[in-house]
Amino acid sequence: MITAAPRHLRASYDVVIVGGGPAGLEAAVAARDNGAAHVLVVDRDQEAGGILLQCIHSGFGLHRFGEELTGPEYAQRVVASTLEHDIDVIADAYVLDIDERRRVKLMTTQAGVSLVEARAVVLAMGARERTRAAIRIPGTRPAGIFTAGLAQRLVNLYGLLPGRRAVILGSGDIGLIMARRLTLEGIEVAGVFEIMPYANGLNRNIVQCLHDFDIPLHLSTTVVEIRGQNRVEGVTVAPLDETLQPRLDRAWDIPCDTLLVSIGLIPENELSQQMRLRFDSATRGPVVSSAMECSRDGIFACGNVVHIHDLVDFVSAEAMVAGRSAGQYVAGTLPRPDNVQLQPGANVAYCVPHTISTEREHTVYLRARKPLDACTLQLTEPDGTPVYARKLRYVFPAEMVNLKLRPAILQNFHGSILRVNIVERATEGE
């Protein structure tokens, strides 16, 4: 466990990393391994490890470690690796600002507010949850409305229960996990309600968290009113028509004292916005190169702050790239800039990174807009000329798609824009 470090902080670091979750810690190790002598990780919580520490269920690490771990176990492995690499980690601390000269305004419990010089910075602040207001549920404003992650924190880290009978709005993974968690704590879960015609969480979570516990999942249904003066007394739910308008004639009331809202995550970019980085309106995170470098020199980013991942394993992979690049930046060994721009095309919500190089191998992460069966992931020139194609059994907005690209495919496209599409198999003319 890494808590607020008693050690003396240096006045300057090669790399300062904002956020001590899996992204930040993994990036720290990679930076150290790639030329950075002095690395500082700043974490705002009482101990480093990030949201993993409250994710006491298993299912983490299959890709990264080849075995199934709980959140705290995964965090512990990353923390241990950080400790072996002689990295300064300071918890219960906060980065208030980073100026143009990369001076980091830091708040710590030991020294108060101070300024630390950084030659490179990695942003790894993670994400926050969308709230009730983001979807404007009408009704009263009683106590008893929690985001799923807040409820998870209360139950798993504080031993406090949010209520006795809960309705869960949104079928995101945290909501699904919490449906099971609350049930195990003796709280009745009246149902999970999802506005879309398909679930938003991973399939394995639907099976293991809902089906195995007989918790009903209502698709194309949403909460249309919250009732209760002081504490939640009930909600009204209604199915939706094709235009996503609630059918109030078919609405029904559910008595409950708790509403958990699990309607997605938003990259936590307060700091990045203060720094005036370029943003992608689809990811709501900074625009990044294949080195995970942002629009400002020497500022890198990784993990949920760039785009929302569904598996921590992919966060780790991305963080290794960001950390390595930060180390190389400091050592002056950062490879030449990218020369190909990527654009999301048909049925692709976004792709990260936003640029790649014809000289290197890349993993591009992307998300589909709509579910499709038997489809093709293709890379085309803007006029539609195919560059590369790969068959996919299905795509699903909740599941990130990885696209591995080798220099051999890209070598003729120096200076080009390439588009990423996901198209139905029939339309590709096989």
Binding site: L96, M107, G112, T131, A133, P138, P142, G159, R231
Partner: protein
């Protein structure tokens, strides 16, 4: 317990009256039914100090609006809350609305309000480029300001308590009657006696008056829904934007709040009942349809919070301030818009009424008008932040990430009377930002529990059964049937 004056209701009006009365050698008490002051209509107020030219000169409202407006600079300086005269534009989008602009200009002339003038389209475009091109002309008033209404209310209450007010929160008045020339006021747990009673009970003022057998008016609560927008839109408009008003309301406004966040609303509709604080889909639609016509760049997507409040609209629409048929029972009722603006003037008027009714007023020479200014860490310069954090270790931890609120600010808010999560939120903004408490709720609960020596399960959102959590192992589950004593507090009364 015998008081000279007992005020019923701890909203902005009751608290302003309380503070004004503590300037004199009097024993004054204030009974508030909610867990903290300002938790009724005040907390949902739009936070506008009206320019002074809206209400007609012949009405009580019209007189007190401008008189009140002029008190706010000094009040803000003394009590340390934020207040800024940002100015306003009342805009006309058709020639048919020009007579309304003329009427406002006429009000300003009659009341001698400085700086109120008509702006034509070109000037409007230059000063407020985000306004709809359909705006043809406007009346500009430099006298309009913005304030956080709950901060003003807390400041007034705290100042009054420091000057000797006996503040009782969580004490609903159940009934009152006269006995040997004294008023006997019954709450669920204590009986209070007073020579004079001030009815500042907001939406319940008609019931309090009826209980005192002085009821000759009705309160018809008129609901207003407000929508707070993301900080992203900060600076979109610089002034408060009004459409031309109608008979029932000033219309849907675009308000650059004191904190810089833009708020839109309020709606105006008869409330279903006195507890109807619901926001609704039609309400949201009405607000955003209207706002799109004023400022096309605003959309529903930017909402970070929504809430509703009830205006205490009395029969006849005007304020009802003054003595009643029952000696010693004085109304300060029907205080709807511009009630916040007028509150300091209402308080002075009530003092005059008390004097006329025979209360001897002797000014104290030890009245302390000023309050220590609360720290607003995020607004300090880096050098100031470094100095403060070195001096005081409570300013070395961020509690609220969206608004950069420190532990020191939360602890200070608790020391000054915050007893609930909402109380902390309104005093510090912790939980008011875009994550709406997703991160800071647990930290605020911990700080509240620790400072007040209670367990986490006893922390509420806003008192009265708004419990948040219960403990896993054998902890008692608190709910709305908890004893009234748990939700009460008495402060002050010593000075």
């Amino acid at each position: 317990m015998l008081y000279d004056v007992l005020i019923i209701g701890g909203g902005i009006v009751g608290c302003a009256i309380a503070r004004e009365l503590t300037r004199y050698r009097l024993r004054v008490a204030l009974c508030e039914k909610e867990r903290e002051v300002g938790f009724g209509t005040t907390k949902a107020n739009s936070g506008i100090i009206h320019g002074g030219h809206h209400a007609a000169p012949g009405t009580l409202k019209g007189r007190l609006e401008w008189a009140g407006n002029q008190r706010w600079d000094r009040l803000a300086a003394e009590l340390g809350f934020g207040f800024r005269r940002v100015g306003e534009l009342t805009v006309a989008r058709s020639a048919a609305e020009f007579p309304t602009l003329d009427k406002l200009l006429h009000h300003a002339t009659v009341k001698r309000i400085p700086g109120v003038e008509r702006w034509e389209a070109e000037r409007i475009r230059r000063e407020e480029p985000a306004l709809s091109p359909t705006v043809l002309a406007a009346v500009y008033a430099p006298t309009t300001g913005v304030v956080n209404p709950y901060e003003a209310c807390y400041g007034l209450a705290e100042s009054a308590v420091r000057n000797g007010l006996d503040l009782l929160t969580g004490f609903p008045v159940e009934r009152l009657h006269q006995e040997d020339g004294l008023w006997v006021v019954l709450t669920p747990t204590v009986v209070l006696q007073a020579r004079f009673v001030i009815n500042a009970a907001g939406i319940d003022a008609d019931r309090v008056a009826a209980s005192a057998l002085a009821g000759n008016f009705d309160i018809r609560p008129r609901k207003g829904e407000e929508y707070l927008l993301d900080k992203r839109l900060q600076g979109l408009v610089k002034r408060v934007i009004f459409p031309c008003p109608t008979a029932v309301s000033k219309g849907i406004l675009v308000i650059p709040t004191f904190d810089g966040t833009i708020m839109v609303g309020p709606t105006a509709e008869e409330a279903g009942d006195r507890t109807d604080l619901t926001t609704s889909t039609p309400g949201a639609r009405a607000v955003f349809d209207a706002v799109r016509d004023l400022v096309p760049g605003i959309s529903e997507k930017d909402v970070i919070a929504q809430f509703a409040g009830l205006r205490a609209v009395a029969t006849g629409e005007d304020f009802i301030i003054g003595p009643t048929s029952r000696r010693g029972f004085i109304n300060a009722a029907g205080i709807q818009s511009p009630g916040l603006t007028a509150a300091p003037a209402i308080a002075e008027l009530v003092v005059d009424v008390l004097r006329d009714e025979g209360l001897t007023l002797v000014e104290r020479d030890d009245f302390m008008p000023a309050l220590p200014r609360p720290v607003h860490f995020a607004a300090l310069s880096t050098m100031e932040q470094i100095a403060l954090s070195l001096r005081d270790p409570r300013y070395r931890r961020i509690v609220c990430r969206c608004e950069y609120v420190t532990e020191g600010e939360v602890l200070d808010a608790i020391a000054r009377g915050a007893a609930t999560l909402d109380g902390i939120k309104f005093r510090t903004r912790a939980g008011m930002g875009r994550c709406q408490g997703g991160f800071c709720t647990v930290r605020c609960m911990e700080l509240l529990a620790r400072s007040r020596g209670m367990d986490m399960a006893s922390v509420t959102k806003r008192g009265r059964g708004s419990w948040l959590v219960y403990e896993r192992n054998g902890g008692t589950l608190r709910s709305s049937d908890s004893a009234p004593e748990d939700e009460q507090e008495r402060m002050g009364g010593e000075a």
